[in-house]
Each structure stands twice: as C-alpha cells, then as structure tokens.
Symmetry: C2
Subunit: 351 residues, 2 copies
C-alpha cells in the first residue's frame, strides 16, 4: 500500500522537525511492507511575503489528494500573525471542516518534568476545532472615541458539540471509561450551558462512560495537582487550546506534544501537527525537539490504519528518550534535532 502524505513544513523550526519525522514514517511503513509518497507544499510566512498569501486559494483541494497532512509550524516575526493563523492554520482546519483536535499527552520514562510525580500520566484532550471563541465574529463600537468597545462573539452549535462529544465518549469507552467535560457555566450563561446539556444527552448513548463536568479554572489546577485523575477531556476550542499547552508540561513541555486535526468518519485528510509553534528564537540552529512532530506522525499512521508502523515510531521514540544523551535543550539536554532523529531511526531499524 502507498501512503500519500502532504507535507507543510512551514516556518521557523517547522521544516527542521518535519525533516526529522518523514524518514521515520517512511522507515516504519517500509518495515511493514508499505511505501510513503510525499508531496511538499511551501506554504507559510515566506510564501506570504513573496505572494501575499500564506497558502493558495485551492489549498484545501490540493491537500485533499493526500491521505493525510503533516504540518510543521508557521509564524515569523516579519509577518502579521493573523495572516498565518487565519490564512493558514485556522483557515485550513475550517475549510476541511476538521471537527476535532486530539491532543494526547503522555509522560515518557526518562524525560524530566517541572511537575513532580508524573509517572504514568497518559491523557487526551478532545478539543472542538471549528468554532466557539474562534469563529472570528464580533466587532468594535465607538472606535476612536475614547470609549471604544471590543465585542467578541463566541458561537457554540449543537452540531459541533455533538461531533466532538461522540469522539470523546468513543475514545473514553476504549480507554478508562472516564470523561471530563470542561466548561465554565457558572460565569458564562449561553454557550457552556449548551455544552453541558448536549454532552449529557450524547452521554446517554454511552452508558459505560462515566461523565464528570469540571470548571475550566478548577481543571487548570487539577491538571497539575492530580493529572492521573484525568483520562479523556472534552473541551471547547479556547479551553482545549489553553489546557493542551498546560498538559504538555506534564510530558516535559511543548516539544513533546503532538496533535491531530480530524473529521472522524469522513474521507478528508487529517492534519497532524506538533502543538508547539515556529519558535523563531531557535530556528535554524538544529536544536529543536522533533518528538512532538514524530508523535504527530505516529498518530497519522494510526488513523490511516497502519497501527504496526505507528507503534514502531512510538516505541522507538520512547526507547530513545530513556537515554538523556538524546534529550534536546528544552528537556535539559544537548542533543541536536538530527541526533534525536537518527537515534529514533537507528532504534527502529534494530528492532
């Protein structure tokens, strides 16, 4: 079988972590008798500077030819952020209608963390990926009068909540049977109460899953205080964003956090990307941690049904991380991106 991969390396450390990941995916697939076919797209900040748009108008159609998309990161100090966020990241998520963003966090043995006692932490954040506080709706009033108002409108639809909820309940059912819904219905009266109601209704179809509802502020504290009390979390676009950066700390930081943007049950390629950004401060130095991107690649293989290949990548990453000589600077080590990548490849090939 041939896996057709679209690759968007992007800006900053994006190309570096993607370059570290593609050979691992290829090796894992070939070990299982498959092939990897890569098409690379030069979308991102540089293209914006050159052509006035971070991606072409038919970007969604182009990537639809692939089975899946591996995305690095975008962001450059000399490009207005919204051109890359709305013009590429959020734009593509919304155009492909990638309803759900899955953000697993797992503490690998041997990786130091700022939080004590993270052994065995293994949780997944299911983030609604198309709306909520991120619809881009709102406006200004009295602009320039000295009494300006900025009005931000969040839209939460039953449809989007249901899609994310089904994913979350199904996932929780395959895992511990425990789902934590994160809302803030004591202070926000229209959006989050709808979440509470719809998720409870969807839950009736999954009687084996125990649902709890936790306020976002309490969840932020609990994420650090008692992460092993958590398994699957379901959250809105904004809350999922905040909580997933926070959860990454449990695994050693942003360099360890993979993600998948998917539309379950549909024939649309998912976008797999590290949660970290383009990190312009370390770009070009070859010291970025490629693990988040590699683990995103493993999620990609899993979702395409190449479970064995995915396991190869994940196991090799885990084995590599046990040795502190393979830790990049963000983990307190001094390994380069290329050293980590070749250690993972080497481990995979000697298995």
């Amino acid at each position: 079988e041939v896996v057709r991969l679209a690759v968007i390396p992007g800006d900053g450390i994006g190309p570096e972590v993607v370059a570290a990941t593609v050979p691992a995916l290829r090796s894992a697939l070939e070990a299982e008798g498959h092939r990897l076919d890569v098409t690379s797209y030069d979308w991102g900040g540089e293209r914006y500077l050159r052509q006035g748009a971070a991606m072409p108008a038919d970007a969604a159609d182009l990537v639809k030819r692939a089975d899946a998309v591996l995305f690095g990161a975008v962001g450059r100090p000399d490009v207005p952020e919204h051109e890359l966020v709305w013009g590429l990241i959020i734009g593509l998520r919304q155009q492909l209608d990638l309803a759900v963003n899955l953000r697993p966090v797992r503490a690998f043995p041997g990786v130091p963390t700022k939080v004590r006692d993270t052994d065995g932490v293994d949780l997944v954040i299911v983030r609604e990926n198309t709306e909520g506080e991120y619809v881009g709706a709102g406006g200004a009033a009295h602009a320039g009068s000295g009494h300006d108002l900025g009005i931000e409108v969040a839209v939460h639809s039953r449809r989007a909540i249901e899609r994310a909820a089904h994913q979350a309940f199904a996932l929780a059912g395959r895992r511990s049977g425990h789902l934590s819904l994160v809302t803030k219905s004591n202070a926000m009266r229209y959006g989050y109460p709808l979440w509470d109601r719809v998720v409870r209704e969807v839950g009736e179809l999954y009687p084996a899953v125990r649902l709890e509802t936790v306020l976002v502020d309490a969840m932020a504290a609990r994420m650090i205080q008692a992460p092993r009390s958590l398994d699957v979390l379901l959250a809105s676009n904004l809350f999922g964003d905040i909580l997933s950066d926070l959860a990454a700390v449990l695994a050693g930081g942003m360099g360890m956090a993979p993600s998948a943007n998917v539309l379950p049950g549909a024939d649309v390629p998912g976008i797999y990307e590290p949660v970290h950004g383009s990190a312009p401060d370390i770009a070009g130095k070859g010291v970025a941690n490629p693990v988040a991107c590699m683990l995103s690649g493993a999620m990609l293989l899993d979702d395409l049904g190449h479970v064995g290949a995915a396991r190869r990548v994940r196991d090799a990453v885990a084995a590599t991380l046990r040795d502190a000589r393979h830790h990049t600077a963000d983990l307190g080590g001094s390994a380069t991106t290329a050293e980590v990548a070749s250690a993972v490849l080497h481990t995979m090939e000697s298995q």
Copy 2:
C-alpha cells in the same frame, strides 16, 4: 482608629475559614493600637433557600457602611449555582464596581508543592473584574430544533481595560518593573486586540515598566515551567480566573490563594476573599486550610493603610507554615483549621 469590617462567611468552609481569620485581624490591629468592629451578614445558600435570594436588594448599600468586606465562600449542592454566583459573588463585585481583582501568589518556605523548584515564586495576577466574557450577555438560537446555537458575547471596554492597566503598571512599577499582559489576539480578533492596544497606550505613562504580551495558552505552560520569569500579570476576567487557580498550585494549592476585589482610588469597600470555593466535601469537618482567608485579611489591612498589622498577620502565617505539623490536609498534613488559627495567633502574640 476603628476598622469597620463587614463579614460574609457564606457556605461550606466559608464560615470556618472566616472564623479562623477574624481573631487574627483583631489581634494584629490591637497590637498596633487599633480596634476591629465586625458586622456579620448571613448571605449565601442558606439564605437563598430560606428567602429566595442569596443577599438582600440593598446588600451593596449595607456593605458600603463598612471599611472593607471579608468574604468566605458560597456554594451548596442544593442551590442552583447561578443564584449564588450572579446573585452574590459576581453581583456584588459588579454593583460595587470593583474594577480589579488582585490575586497574589507566593510560595512560602516549608509548604510542599506539586511543581518543582518554586522557591521564591512571588507574583500577582491583576484581573479585570467587571466584564469581558463575564458580562452575562448572549442568547440562544434555534433552541429545541436540534440545531441549537448558544451565543456568548464578551464585551471589553477601553474604560475597564484602562482601569485594570493603571493598577497593573503602578504595581509593576513598585515591584520588579516587569508586566506581562495575557491575551489571545491571534485567534480572537475584536476583544483582545483592543486589550493589546489600550495597554500599550497606558504603558506610555509608565516608561519604567517593561511590558510583554503573552498568549494565554503559552502563559499557562510558562506559569508552571518558569514561574520566576513572571512578576505582575494583567489579564481579562476569564483568563485571570483560569490563571489564578493555576498559579495557586505554585504555592501549594487553592488553600493558599488570597484575593482582593477593589476599586482603586474610590471610597468603596473592597471585598477580600480566598480564591477557593465552599468545598462542600470537607465542610463542617474543621479541616479546611484557613491560610487563603487569612492572607486575604492581610491584603485588607494593607489596603486600609494598616501595613504594620498586615505584616504581623503575614509574618505569623509564614512562620506557622514552616512547621509541617501546622499543615492542613490539602498540604499533606493533618492539622485542623483551629490548630492553624491558634498557631498563627500564638505566633503573633509572642512576636
């Protein structure tokens, strides 16, 4: 001088932590030659069940007779949460127009934390306290049709941002000269860009303060990864809420986090309250940690100009916490609320 204190013990552990705090405030004031005059109000969940409202219609006028308000906590499983939140906590904050919520977090030597290396952590979150995502505006569309929408409207005004910003810059100027503004302008296009703009403008009046702007997701991770890189944070109502629960973890948890709701420069009493809630699970057992409430009391004394009395309370709390025998269950100890309270009193009186 006589300090007129209005006390709202509230529900759950509220009355327990307030009862532990008032004698300490009295003792500290008397040691400086002042007196404490207490008026207690039975507002909260029980009153709601009895009289249909958590507080009387003239509550704001009543507390305006006092110099300051000490608030415990409200919340009971048998009372709809919004009756207590909108009917009391948020209601009173808004009626008194308490523009700013100050939430300091300080790691006390001797107190264990889930986060490594928190020695010397000492930061303050300045939270806008009247609007943003908490205005209670919005509505529903297509309700009951199976295509329901919940629409939540956040309102950010230049006036409210300016009030909070002046507080934050002034505070940063008295501290390290470093202010971190927390927004999410890459994904939310109307509210947070106004924050960025207005805060930058206000900052021109405080040239000695260095301003940085940090995305809320990145800030959540940094709060745990590098808390000593932070001093004063300025955040919206929602972001300040989330980040302050999280920051409390750096000090040992919610039992350690005080707060002050104030309207700087106006003759309106501030409301001083622990950040924690009513904790119905441990209510009535006498095991709640009174430190958050005691430290809220110290903030109250400070703001009334009784800086010496405030220092007495704070120093006694710090000295008490050095000894693990005075740690309550939330800190891994087995001390009761009353034991902590009397240890603090004893320390204060022997100083």
